[in-house]
């Protein structure tokens, strides 16, 4: 694992935001490293621990707690569909199924809370997430960092087309 100089500069900058305790930078650093590498391998966890003068377990316990942090790569494009009540009433379960069908993701053995599922070609991964705070305009989903409201099942193929 090679941390490019530019990334390390951003990391050092981030640490300055917490003049009282470097440990506060743990989550921000996890975000930065995950954004760069796509996931968090052991080495990354050790690197952050060392950078902040902590034990690796102090970092690992965050990775295992927060739903957005992952230990293995997601698909090239990661889809999040909101599962919670208002979106479910607006059809988010059906939307998830439609995404899976068109992205060729086998959802057979997936339970909620399980690791996100990937398509065989690795192009897409999908995850059911809890309320994304746009409940009036459900069903709601995110593809990578982009946000979509009132998504219909018919729009799914053309949406996926945008993310190759």
């Amino acid at each position: 694992m090679e941390i490019p100089a530019e990334l390390e500069a951003r990391i050092d900058q981030e640490i300055t935001h917490f003049p009282i305790s470097k440990r506060s930078a743990a989550l921000p650093l996890l975000h930065l490293i995950q954004e760069h590498f796509g996931y968090l391998e052991d080495e990354a966890i050790e690197w952050i621990a060392q950078k902040l003068g902590l034990q690796p377990i102090n970092i690992l316990e965050l990775v295992t707690f927060y739903p957005m942090l992952r230990r293995e790569p997601a698909g090239k494009h990661h889809i999040r569909v909101c599962r919670t009540l208002s979106c479910a009433m607006a059809g988010s379960y059906e939307l998830l199924d439609t995404f899976c069908k068109h992205a060729r993701i086998d959802r057979q053995h997936n339970g909620h809370g399980a690791h996100s599922l990937k398509s065989e070609d690795g192009k897409y991964s999908i995850e059911f997430v809890e309320c994304l705070a746009s409940c009036g305009f459900g069903p709601v989903c995110m593809i990578d960092d982009d946000f979509y409201e009132s998504v219909t099942q018919e729009e799914v193929p053309q949406l996926l087309e945008k993310y190759q």
Partner: protein, 457 residues
Amino acid sequence: MVSTIRTPHPREKRIIFKNIDRPGWTNDIGCYLHDGGYEELKKAFTMKPGQIVNEVKLSGLRGRGGAGFPCGVKWGFIRPGGTKPVYLICNADESEPGTFKDRYIIHQDPHQLIEGMIISCYAVNAQLAYIYIRGEFPEGAKILERALAEAKEHGFLGKNILGSGFDLEIYVFRGAGAYICGEETGLIESMEGKRPYPRIKPPYFPAALGLYLCPTIVNNVETLCNVKHIVRIGGAEYAKMGKPNNTGTRLLCVSGDVQKPGYYEFEVGAITIGELINDICGGMKPGRTLKAVIPGGSSAKVMSAKDRYKLKTKQPDGTMAETEMGLEDIPIDFDSLAAAGSMAGSGGVIVMDDSRDMVWALNNINEFYAHESCGQCTPCREGSLWMKKITGRMLHGGGVEQDTDTLKSVADNIAGRTICAFGEACAWPTQSFVAKFRDEFMGTAHKKGNGNGSTNS
């Protein structure tokens, strides 16, 4: 899929949302300054910090994050001249199901929030502040970072702001998908680089012991925006909006089975549940009737359209009398909803029509809480899971006769027995759904093979 411009309803009173969907409005500092932005900050610097705290007390402003605690009282817990540094954290975790208001302030009017925060920091003498934004708002985090940089370029942040002698830095802190980070002590633990396990109370307020064990004010995005307007018009004038003890405006987020869901801003208590649904949100879908309303985010107790509610209301001659009313006649304010057995909570109003299966709805909510319990307290960790498993099996045809009572018993054993208010938040839905729709639960428990939309258990 297209994001449309949503024009305000004529009955709205837009103060906090004045610039949301405003034609020609952009979220950069140029637009904000052109519209008179940061003038209240200048005004605030002509006042003493204690004066601002007093104005906020006078305004009667209550927290918009969920608990409705008086903001000025909270600020008053910070003793001026203390030896420890004071921190201020803006709670932008916005994760309560049904709530979608802070998102639009962050995206479309970040400088209103930042100005509100700078004024608030000056009032409580915090020289370091953070915005804790949920991880699923990556664009919001970027917008805030850019807005903070703009504010700094213009001398509204940094050292000796506008020559006032007051120094302040504000940074953005991103969460990573955990609802419990919205609970203020969980949020603080998260910011300290630990797992976001809520802290044992007392102390009841981070104002006593907060970030790095220093006095810390945690306020919701909407609450902090209000501060700017209190400085603008004065606390007494602000208190004229709304009702006594329920002052100002409130952002209401309506979702579910209405024709026009969305976000709206009204004076607190100015409209009833029925007016919100029928006049503002275009009524129920064709051929449908109102069945239930969750008035303040998924943690608030569900209210049935069939029930009658007894509320104390002020009579024309000034005396108080108990009035009985239907669900649609209840005004949306803190005290009325509390008196009716629920709460105004976070302003997220979820509407359900007669096509909705209440076991299915509760199961969806239970899945949320089972997923989000932080796991520290046994009643919450186990109970939230059991409740989900019971509603899940009822839906899938594996229910047994006792399920309805077991659900109630599990919920009753969570509330009041946990470290944080998540315990109540996860028990209230089950307690209220089972109490209000008991027949439906009994009926479903008996049915075999009844799967109704919930595909995972």
